[in-house]
Each structure stands twice: as C-alpha cells, then as structure tokens.
Symmetry: C2
Subunit: 124 residues, 2 copies
Amino acid sequence: MITIDYQSRAPLYEQIVEKFQMLILTGALPPGSQMPSVRSLALELSINPNTIQKAFALLEQQGYIFPIKGKGSFVAENDRLIIQKRENCLLKLEALLRHAREIGVPKADCTALLTRIYHQEVAL
Amino acid sequence: MITIDYQSRAPLYEQIVEKFQMLILTGALPPGSQMPSVRSLALELSINPNTIQKAFALLEQQGYIFPIKGKGSFVAENDRLIIQKRENCLLKLEALLRHAREIGVPKADCTALLTRIYHQEVAL
DNA sequence: TTAACTGTACTATTACTGATAATACACTAT
DNA sequence: ATAGTGTATTATCAGTAATAGTACAGTTAA
C-alpha cells in the first residue's frame, strides 16, 4: 500500500503520515473508506505497531481519519485539507525559489523546469 | 556573522555548513579571505567548539575552505562549487514541483510565484 | 458465548545521533 | 614566552525514534 524510505531523515511515523495524506488527498483513499488496521499495516511494513499507531494518531489529530473502536479507522471528508496542503506546498516552493534566485539559478531554468513538469499531464 | 535556527530539524553543524556555503558562493566571503576561528565562532554563537569544528571539516571536505595549521581556515576558489549547488537546487525544485502538481496546485499559481520572486531583482 | 479482529494505553528498553565538556598536541605570529 | 590558530581524542549527557510486551475495551461473525 505504501513504501518507506529508510534513508530519509524523516522518522517512520512521519513518512507514514505523509504517504496517507497523499493517498487521501488524491482520492486514492476516498472519504468513508476503511484504513488498514494498525496491526496489519505494521505486519505488512515490518514496523512496530506502536509506530503505526503514532502515525494514525497524528492523522486523526489533523482531521484526515477518524477511529471507531473495535471497527477500525476511516477516511474523513474534509475539503479544507487539500486547500491547506496546497497552500503549504506553495510556501515551500516560495522559499526554495528565493534560494534559487539567491544562488544565481537562472529564471529560464526554473520556467523550463516548471513547463516540463506540468506538461506531462493535465493538472487535477 | 551567521544566525542559527534552533527550531529547525537540521543539526547545528549542518546549518553552519549551509550558511557558510551561501556566504562563500554569493561572494560575501571571497576566495582567500579568512574564516572566523573555530573558537571565536563558537563563542559568538554560544556553541561548542567541537560542533564548529565538525562544520568546518565538512566545508573543507566539500572544497569550500582549506585550513592552515596555526594560521586559520581560508576560503578556497572553486568555480565548480556554485555550479554543483545550482544543479542541486534545481533537483530539489523538480521534486517539489512534481509534488505540487500531484496534489493539484494549479500551474498558474507556480508561474505567478516564480514571476514574483524573480521580478524583485535582477538575477546574479 | 466464543474467537478473532479492531483501536487504545502504558511502561520499559534499546539504539542512534547531536551536542557538550575537558584535554591535549602541533603550528604560527607577535 | 605568550596567545592565538587547527586538530584529535575520550567521555558524557540529552533527546527522540523505534521496538517489545502486555493489557483493556469495543465490534463482528461463527
């Protein structure tokens, strides 16, 4: 269902959070659908259940999922999440672009890159 | 001379490395100029000298500075460094742009941001 | 009811890494 | 000589990620 990068500086639980954020925001996991159980996912990823639990607790806290004791966790429906996520992405992009300009990356290189990335498929 | 962000996830020594990379690549510290001493910088930043030493060792390893025992560390001259740095920045930018497209950030928002950032001043 | 699954909570332990502390040595300049 | 450089070494502390093990409460279906 998801993959983990053991080279990353980000902790496992945070990677899990981000992966599921993506799956939910892109609609791969639609609202109302059931999340994998803590134990099954832990088994699948060969990760301690506590680590999964920590990730799910964060996802719940951020409004991505909601738990039902004895049944499982389910994807919540929230339109504001995707908006927040996009705004956050634009903030990161702004910081990176400022840095690029600062160290002398030509504007043309950035525009070319942008065109190339966004040319491959139609945006959502 | 430089400032440290104690909220950042990046370790102190890595922040120091990046700050001096910027100072050197932008020409604020020109080739041949003397770096602050390990001890003085440690005092100024209220950081352990060993941490500064670790940062300087990395800077030397990457070709940014060269040490002379008993005299100090000095900024090296290397044109390839700035090129490598820019390429690395473009790689990060590519990854971030792919992510932006993936979560549905409109292309127009990215182009607008790019224009705004690069409009403020002429690139180096 | 029983069994097997769910989420949740708690404590303890391990492992890793960043950062500090305290020295020590070799070299340079005044 | 003295004070400043870079460099190296060892030890220790602190924070956090991750694991391990156990326990409890609720749901579901045989």
